[in-house]
Symmetry: C2
Subunit: 93 residues, 2 copies
């Protein structure tokens, strides 16, 4: 029987890659008076729900999805956490 | 003495708000053969480094920054985790 999993995926720019959006946010914060901010880096956060045989199967699928679509491995890193959903979830709630 | 903190901030659309970007990614994944994907929701992940007196001060600043700039409270939720940076970090590394 297949199970439902939720993956929380974090995609971040590699540390050596410049982040113009983060720099813009930092400048905006400084303009608003937040002088204590040292740096801002902006990434993506993606929640994916999927069915899989087990956690290893889910993990493999999420790895493939990240490599092929969600992250650009040349400039981005990703990591994710998986949790099994015990009750079916209404995705429109 | 002020300390350095890093906040990991997650900004997500409220569950009742439609996510066209997530729907587009889901359609793309289906087109690529990932039929097991049930839903995709896309949010933002922001890392902010700042100086603060203590963790309560840092937490308050991050709350204000999220409310005023990073999140739109009408359609988005946010949550964050704070950690103290024990050694000064080269932000360009």
């Amino acid at each position: 029987m297949t199970k439902q999993y939720q993956a929380q995926i974090y995609v971040t720019l590699r540390p050596s890659v410049l982040d113009p959006a983060g720099t813009a946010v930092q400048a905006g914060l400084k303009h608003m008076g937040y002088d204590s901010v040292i740096s801002v880096r902006i990434g993506k956060y993606v929640e994916v729900r999927l069915t899989a045989q087990d956690v290893a199967d889910a993990s493999q699928k999420i790895d493939q999805i990240c490599d092929q679509l969600l992250a650009n491995p040349v400039i981005e890193n990703y990591r994710f956490e998986l949790e099994e959903l015990t009750t079916p979830v209404n995705i429109r709630s």
